[in-house]
Symmetry: C2
Subunit: 332 residues, 2 copies
């Protein structure tokens, strides 16, 4: 009576040195398979680390979860590969996507980060506005000095990028009574933006910012978008929040401005080199909060990724379009 | 044609050692008088510090702005005194109010602190939830270690006291998606409380708290309300925020619990001795944010106080009830 069901091969690939909570391990798979037993019964899994068994696995794999898949002659090496899932949202390590064979689907994990990002940006805006880094520096030195600040409402947040993270930033800002200006590739933006501009108009909006929030993906069009000249367009009372990618901002210029007191502060969750090395000057730059790339991630991150993958696998079996399929021409 | 208008005598009293932004100085009066020229024309002002001219001034004063007015034989010493304005909201230094002569009005400055308090508590809840003290301790030591936390929404905040500050705490908590339980003298609470209990029921709600926010005035009924046994009813994952008064909480027990890791953290804006002395153990207690009593105060605080006083003076001249008149029996 039961129709014979096809079994698919899924290869899970982890990298040493990446944060453990992002690794698609055999243990995380086993836990997820219990949540989706019927779908899991149709999947045969292999698990590798740092490419140890990847070449062999790709010979038969239908799917892979791998944030940095091999990009040379991929179709030749993985003749059956139909779908690649990455564990993060940003695809910058594998851009441009000219290596992606026609018909092969690439999905990222965008949409998993919004709620935590909203909390993180709410915290960032208030902490920078209320000068928490200076207050905690005083605490360290046992000094009691009032630093009085006005309520935050009525200020303006300029948000670069208005995808999942940018919209989370927008919600955070609106919740605090800020005016939200979105800067996007197209010049259009979803709610809760009060105004939206194309990236070409960025110079006109930067002087209006009390807060500049970087929430864009790293693409050729955003690389060093916030360069020294643009940082100079910010008011000295403005603060910067980066939960996107470090290379969108000229960090050398940013640090110099912070050292000279030409900006009120910064919260940085992303750096060119992660983990940030112990000798980095960022650890001690004044009025800066350094976060270890946690602003958008939650406990159970990889469990949610597997849930997302299983839901997409169900769509695959039903012949439906996959959620979070990346447009190779745009890069997200 | 012009009726002769009565001129009233207002005595302004400052104390050395209190924060400067709370001092009703001659300069602040002069600035306020420009904003209310017609009303100011009916006022003759004297300014004193630490009681230097107070006895003499009170012989003729109709009004005074003084947070610690003389309490012995006041009617005898100030035969014309009709109205005392304090510069803060909490009246704990002059309680009980049995010294207040019949018919003399006492007004406090409640209602001036809500917007800033809402910001401060939003920051406190997120900072403690996301373990910002530990993250910033890592930053100090140049250590990159992910501390992953879930979104804050869905947790529960228990708010002690639900006047202006408590309601601000309630708005902050609701804005972050928390469930709000108010504990009040009467057992009733205004929005945005989801539930309200009388102080007698406090033991039953403390185990439900992810956050315990102290926003009550210091009164006989709140002194040491959060004693050691009640702190022990909190979950180890709970965090405490105090923007009310230090003596509401057993700070020795609180510090011991924080040192032992039996609570997740605390943000304390109020202390028994302010300024907090340099040798205080609070400066270095783990997972604690020490603020120098700024969580509810803004720049221009004294300007707003004078605005409030002039509006009330207008009511006085029109024979209307004064806003913020304190009920001597309740103490706020």
């Amino acid at each position: 009576m039961n129709a014979e069901k096809t079994t698919y091969h899924l290869h899970l690939e982890s990298q040493h040195g990446r944060p453990e909570h992002l690794a698609p391990t055999a243990e995380a798979w086993a836990a997820a398979a219990k949540r989706y037993p019927q779908l899991a019964a149709q999947v045969r899994v292999t698990c590798g680390t740092d490419g140890d068994i990847r070449d062999k696995a790709l010979e038969t794999a239908d799917f892979t979860i791998d944030s940095t898949p091999p990009r040379e002659r991929l179709r030749e090496r993985a003749p059956r590969l139909k779908w690649i899932q990455t564990t993060g949202a940003g695809l910058d390590p594998i851009l441009p996507l000219d290596w992606l064979p026609p018909g092969m689907i690439l999905t990222n994990n965008r949409g998993a980060h919004g709620h935590k990002a909203e909390d993180s940006i709410t915290l960032a805006l208030l902490a920078l506005h209320m000068r928490l880094p200076a207050l905690m520096e005083q605490q360290r030195s046992g000094a009691w000095r009032e630093i009085l600040t006005a309520p935050i409402a009525g200020g303006t947040a300029v948000v670069i990028g208005f995808g999942d993270l940018g919209q989370a930033a927008g919600r955070a800002a609106r919740k605090l009574g800020l005016h939200v200006i979105a800067v996007t590739r197209t010049g259009n933006a979803a709610p809760p933006a009060d105004e939206a501009y194309a990236a070409e108009a960025i110079d006109t909006v930067l002087p209006r910012a009390d807060f500049l929030v970087i929430a864009a993906p790293l693409l050729p069009g955003t690389h060093q978008l916030i360069n020294r000249a643009r940082l100079d367009r910010l008011r000295p009372s403005a603060a910067l929040v980066n939960i996107g990618r470090a290379a969108i901002v000229d960090y050398t210029a940013l640090r110099e401005k912070l050292e000279r007191g030409e900006l009120a502060g910064a919260l940085l969750d992303v750096f060119e080199e992660e983990p940030l090395p112990p000798q980095s000057p960022w650890w001690t730059t004044p009025n800066v909060i350094v976060l270890p790339h946690v602003s958008c991630d939650t406990p159970g991150y990889i469990d949610r990724l597997f849930d997302f993958w299983f839901e997409n696998f169900g769509r695959f079996l039903r012949g439906e379009p996959l959620v979070n399929a990346v447009d190779p021409k745009v890069g997200y």
